[in-house]
Structure formats: structure tokens, C-alpha cells
Amino acid sequence: MFLQLTLGGLSQGAIYALVALSLTVVYRSTTVVNFGHGDFVMAGAFISYVLVVIAGVAFLPAAVLAVLAMFVLGVLFSRGLIRRVRGGPHIGLALMCIAAGYVLRGIARMVWGREVLPMPRVFDIEPIFIGNLVITGDAVFIIGTVLVLLLTLFGLLAFTDLGKMVQAVYQSPRGARLIGLNVELFDDFSWGVGAALGAIGGILIAPVSLLHPDLGASFLIKGFAAMTLGGFGAPFGAVLGGLILGVAEQYAGAYIDTSLIEITAYLVIVLVLFLRPQGLFGRKAVVKV
């Protein structure tokens, strides 16, 4: 049972990690927490649904198109809406994100109502039984995809000039501006990447779960919890936080009580903020006077 729970937890946790990472990408470059991000996850899943089920496009090209569409949406959201309220109070930015999320959810509700939609399975293969351990195609696909994606992303951040530029903008937008970086463009790009990564999370979970307009809400909370656990602004921490949260949910549900599964994320948020507010890999906020 332990191994099975760990595998199931890692599979779920990989999605949380992706959502947390996409929130972190935006937060690192803009210091904005996207409270509407769950609906970006949902929108990505619905775009792929439309392409696969209605337009008859194969899953892989449909997924690529959906991710591109969400990237463009993220960039447009940043240029068209966020930039205009950037100088104002932070609450304005938060409300703008929530409003955008609700607009996306409203559109989905208008089209599909409260209908629960099935997405065809990507790897509809028979599970492999090794003793009591069941390895499903879904789990392999989700963990494998997220692993490749994370390695690519962290490789880009660690070993390329692009990564250095991202770090420069995160550490000091003003300094980055002084050395000639177009910070506004970086912001737009971050919103685009954040939306695209969130969309990948939605696309991966859609065949395993079912689609409905409120799908994103729970992923937003899980993403926040993972982000809090890993440390705000720490990409590696967000990923690790997501994986730990996924596994913790399974252990809590199986070994203590299944009603704990749903509240594990909230417990994590409370405990981390109480015991180690900077999370596992975040930096302690220091105010110099």
C-alpha cells in the first residue's frame, strides 16, 4: 500500500508542482500572486477538449495548440490589463486576476453549463501489476511529462543567458532596466509562460479527471499550498512542495482518515506559515532600515 500511495501521490503531486511552478514564474518576475490561475488551468484543459473532442485534432498537436493559445492569452492579459493597474495598490492587481479568472469560468459555464465532460484517455493501456503495486499509463505519462518539462525549464534557468536575465529581473527590476533589459516585456513573457505551464497542468489532469468549469478552484489552493511549502519565489521549492503535498494527501487519507485529503493543503499552509514562513527554500524577508 505504501508504494502505491507514493506513486499515486507523486502523480497528483506532479500536477500540483506544475501549477505551483507556474504561479511562481509569475510571482518571481512580477511579485503578483495570480489568484485567477486556477481558471487558467481550467481554460487550458477546455481548449484541448475543444480541439480533441469537437475539432477531432490528435491529442499531442491539440495540447501544443492549447498551450500556445494560453501563452498568448497570458501575454495579452499582462499587456492589456495588468500593465494598466501595475502602478496602483497590490489589491488592484489581485482583484484583476480574480476578475479575469471569473470571466474565463463564466465563459466556460455559458458554453457548457454545469455539465461534467469526459476527456478521452491519452494512454489507455492496461495497468501493469507488480505484486500489489499497480502502475497505470496515466501515472507514467503525467510523471514523465512533468519531469521532462521541469528538467528543460530548470536547464534553461540555470545554464542559459535567459536564466540569468530572469534572475536579474527578479532580484532588481530597476537594476535590470539599467543594464538594458526590457522588464515590461519580461513581465509579459512571464505571464505567458505562467499561463502556458498552468495549461499543461490542466491538459494532463483532464483525461484522468473530468472537465467542468469549476475544475481550477481546487488546483489553485493546491498550488498555493505547494508554493507556500516550497517558499514563495523558489521554483525548485514549488516543485518539491507540490510533490510533498500530493504524497501527504495520499498518506493522510489512507493511514489516518479520508476526510483529511481535502484539508491537507490548508493544513500545510497554516503549519508552514506558523513554523517556517519562508517555506523550505524561500528566503527570509529582511527589511533594512
Binding site: 499515486g8 453549463g113 454545469r114 469526459p118 500489489n132 484522468v208 479527471s209 495520499q250 487519507g253
Partner: protein
Amino acid sequence: MKRLKTVLACAVLAASAVTAQAQSQDWETEGLSDDAITIGVMGPFSGNAASYSKALIGMMAYYDKINDEGGIYGRKLVAVQEDTACDSAKGIAAAKKLLSQDKVFMLQGNSCSGVALAMRPIIEDSGVPWIVAHAVSDSISDPLAKNIFHGVPTGSANGRAMAAFVLSKPDTKKVAIIEHSNDWAHSYSDPARAYLEEHGVTPTEELTMERGETDATAQVLRLRQDKPDFIIAALYEAETAIFLRDLKKYGLGDIPVMGTAGTDLENTMKRTGDFDTVKNYYVIHSYIDNLDGPKMKPWADMIHKYYPDEQLSTFSFVSIGSAEALVAALKAVGPDLTRSKLIDALNQVHDFDTGILSDPITWTPEDHQGVKGSAVAGFVDGKPTVLKAWGQPY
């Protein structure tokens, strides 16, 4: 002088009594004319839960059928619709409007239990007869209100029917329950649990799966250790599909699962994507036949006669049975109709076979929850089949 005062006082009292009697007589026949009986029909005709209003469309189609046949003693059944949008505040406003402004003779309808519960105090105070035609919460009609009659199986009737079906499978000893932690799920699971206990069966595993959960691994692994003979699942549509998928994924697809009336076989199969996942899934089914079966066809034709564009669903038929009972009671009263007489006649409805609901309607002065059971639908030889008990077609 003293005598004069006494006489005057008596005259005033007599006049008041006459006025009160006249007012009472007016109240008794309010909303009634020589050619019409006005019936307030409340329901979610708009909003997210608008699909539930199909129940009221079916019911109004039945009114139309009765009207085409000449009505009841020359009176047509005239529906006055009010939209609740499945929202308690709007529901209360709708009930007040129907009672105070439209002054309908009686009420029939309402699909959302929360809204019906919010309306209950106003309607109970008014004394106007109300037949609850779709909402299932027991609290709408229990404790008893003399003017409120429940015309569909309540949550407890369904919950007990679920447990009865589970125990009708030979050698069922170990039963597990998985449910949401909300009132809706408890309205099924609590009576089911009580029924099991009455029959000496204590659930061996009680699990929670919350709304929005996208994975049931932990729950299924606990079930794998427990090895139940039957699982009762009080879960909404999406979670039911996820649970059944995970059950099959971890090799437990052969354990039968009993679901609520909130899901149906056809749509659950659509959501899970294959027959193998739902082959052992059973659901509460309030009708005598499959929705596309020959016994339901006349009702489907009736709805389409009056509402040609109506898309039929499982909700479309649920309120017709109580409309039939109403018509029977109105006929029993005779042409000299009053609200009190109608309430008395409804209390006399006994073992009324609707020809559509799987169980008869019985109302007594002590018990207004009229439908005490439900059939079950499951796949037999790959086809959705209505069952009385395990292996017994209806």
C-alpha cells in the same frame, strides 16, 4: 340601557362571526373559478439548475393532457409559473407572489430541496395545499404540516432502498460506504446506514471523497484492504466517475457499487468512457421502466405532444406521478371544491399506482411522505434494466 348594550354586543359578535365565515369561505375557494383551478408551479426555470425544471415541464404536460380531456368537473388546471432559479431568496419571493398576489388555489412543484425548505414556513402558515413534486429532502415534509404533501421518494426512502438492494444480494456481509461530507450525501447514507444496522450489518469501512477531488487512490486502497461485498456511494456525478475509474484501475472493478438518484447509468458510462467500468454500478431509479422502455413511451409521447422541443432526461418524468395523485384527489372531492376538502382528499390517497413511479403513493393524516421506496437500475446482460432486488427485474 344595560339590555341594549348586551344586544348591541351580541350583534357585533354575530356580524364578526359572519364576516369571518365569509372570509374563510373566500379563502377556501381562492384561486378557483367555474372553469379554472389555478396552481402555482415554482421551479428553477433559469440558472445553473435549470435542467431540474424538466420535472415541472413533464408535470405541466400532464395538466395539459387532463385539460384536453375536459378538465376536472369542467375546470381546467391552470399553471402559474414562478422561477426560483434554485435560489432560496428567489424561491421565497416566488412563493409570496403566488400566495399573496396571484392568489393561486394550491401549489405544486419545486425542484431544489434548499429552496423548498426555505419556503416551507411561509407555505405552512398560509395553509394552502402544496404537493412537493421533485425536491427530496425529508425535512420538507417532516415534521408533518397539514397542507404539505411529498409526492416523490424522499432522501430517506431512497437511502433505505439503496441499502435494501445491497442486502438483497446473497451473502452480502461486508458493506463499505463512500460519500461526500455534505447534507445531500448524508440524506442518502444516514438512512442506508440505519437500514443496514437494523439488519445486523455495520459498515466495515466509511470513507469520504470530497467534491472536486480528482483522485480516489487512497479511498480505493483502503477498500482493497477491506474487501467489501458491496459499496454504497453517495457521490455526485463527476466524483462517481472518478471513483469507478480508480476502482477498476486498482483491480476492484468486480465489487458492485450502489449509487444515488443523483447519477444515472447512461451518463455515468459516458463519463467513465467504457462499459467495463460501470458494469457493476447500480443506481436508484424511481420509475417502472428504463427511460426509453415501452412503459415510459406513452409519458414521453405526452410530454412531446405539448412540448415538442423538450429534450427528455431522467428528471422529465419524476413529477408526473404526484400530478396524477392530485387529479385523483380533485376528482374525489367533486365539483364543490375547497382547499380543506382537497387536503382531506389528499389524505385519503392510498396505494395509488401512478403507472410511472416504481412505488405507489400513500398519504395519511399522520404521514405526508407519500412514496416509500424506489426501484434500482443496473446493467443486466449489458443492458440497463430496472430491478426490484438483486437479480429480480421489476
